[in-house]
């Protein structure tokens, strides 16, 4: 059965149709949430909230866009609200960073290197959290999730040109904020 047919059935109360559609999006929504929170339990909660919101918002879907785009938009808006409520403008401590940088520069065993890689990632995501929400959103959708420009534009309700310019500014800001922690010869953190 086509997706739109299933959506119509779900709109008039078919629980089975709703489950069939949502199972298709389970992974996508969970991964999206995980990209923002990097915590399995928190992402799981967030994904469940998105599905509940979608369930009650389903009658408002008017088939004016692809269902997938509409659903992704519901998810992104919910995540935006969540981030706003739990905004943690954390300053990145130099101690955390030093640990990451030294770990790369030293010749160290594989286990230590894996730990250092993890630290580096953690630090980049900590800095990402401190960016304005628009920038955080676009960097996550593009550079973490790898969504194409067109899809990002549809989900955020902006043109591909705006996606391009906003992404450019966001990446520049991320680099600027990371400058104190980036190795002077480039690359090493």
């Amino acid at each position: 059965m086509e997706e739109n047919e299933l959506v119509k059935k779900a709109q008039v109360g078919s629980h089975e149709a709703f489950t069939m559609i949502m199972k298709k999006y389970e992974q996508k929504v969970f991964h999206l949430a995980y990209s923002f929170v990097q915590d399995r339990a928190a992402a799981d909660d967030l994904a469940q909230e998105v599905f509940i919101k979608a369930y009650f918002s389903l009658p408002k879907f008017r088939f004016q866009s692809e269902f997938g785009t509409w659903f992704y938009r519901v998810a992104v808006n919910h995540i935006k609200d969540y981030l706003r409520k739990t905004a943690r403008r954390r300053e990145v401590s130099l101690e955390d960073v030093e640990e990451g940088r030294l770990a790369v520069e030293d010749k160290i065993p594989a286990r230590e290197k894996a730990r250092a890689d993890e630290q580096r990632k953690k630090m980049v995501f900590q800095v990402l959290e401190t960016l304005p929400q628009n920038y955080r959103m676009i960097l996550t959708l593009r550079d973490v999730r790898g969504l194409p420009y067109e899809e990002i534009g549809q989900v955020l309700g902006i043109s591909a040109g705006t996606v391009d310019s906003r992404l450019h500014r966001a990446r520049k800001m991320l680099r600027k904020k990371m400058m104190p922690f980036i190795g002077q010869e480039g690359g090493g953190l």
Partner: protein
């Protein structure tokens, strides 16, 4: 090429958005500009570190979700209205239009009203005219009134 333009193209190159000639220009600039090469390396590391491995939802995702949905539906009965309102609104509007149409169709017209009914509708006393007739003392005037009343008989049913 200026370093500012090179940075723009450099960032687009990470998305595979650069065409042949533009890419060649950027490569040429990078060969001669150590500052931009450094930026290239920094951006590369940053973007690489933004890539994460996907995790899986916790077990029994759907079972937990279904339980929550049932609870929510029980707690929020308005949600049933939200589900059906999309249909209820046009149905209610249609019924309202039919009702208004029916009223317009069956309402009595002005020509069907007796003079007394018309006067009553205008909040006038229907006996005022009769009273004037009885109060008139001059026979001549009384006769004239009878003649005019007879003329009106064809247009307004008494």
């Amino acid at each position: 090429m200026k370093c500012k333009d090179a940075e723009k193209r450099l960032l687009r190159s990470f998305d595979g958005e650069l065409e042949g000639a533009t890419k060649a220009e950027l490569d040429g600039h990078l060969k001669t500009c150590p500052g931009c090469r450094k930026k290239q390396s920094q951006y590369h590391v940053l973007l690489e570190n933004l890539k994460i491995e996907d995790a899986e939802p916790l077990p029994y995702f759907w079972e937990r979700l279904e339980t929550k949905l049932r609870e929510k539906e029980r707690v929020e009965p308005w949600s049933i209205w939200a589900k059906w309102s999309r249909r209820a609104v046009p149905v209610a509007l249609t019924l309202l239009l039919l009702f208004i149409g029916g009223l317009a169709f069956f309402a009595p017209g002005e020509e069907d009203l007796s003079q007394s009914e018309a006067l009553l509708l205008r909040n006038d006393n229907p006996l005022a005219e009769t009273k004037t007739f009885f109060e008139e003392t001059r026979l001549e005037n009384k006769n004239m009134m009878i003649i005019f009343a007879a003329d009106e008989k064809d247009s307004i049913r008494r």
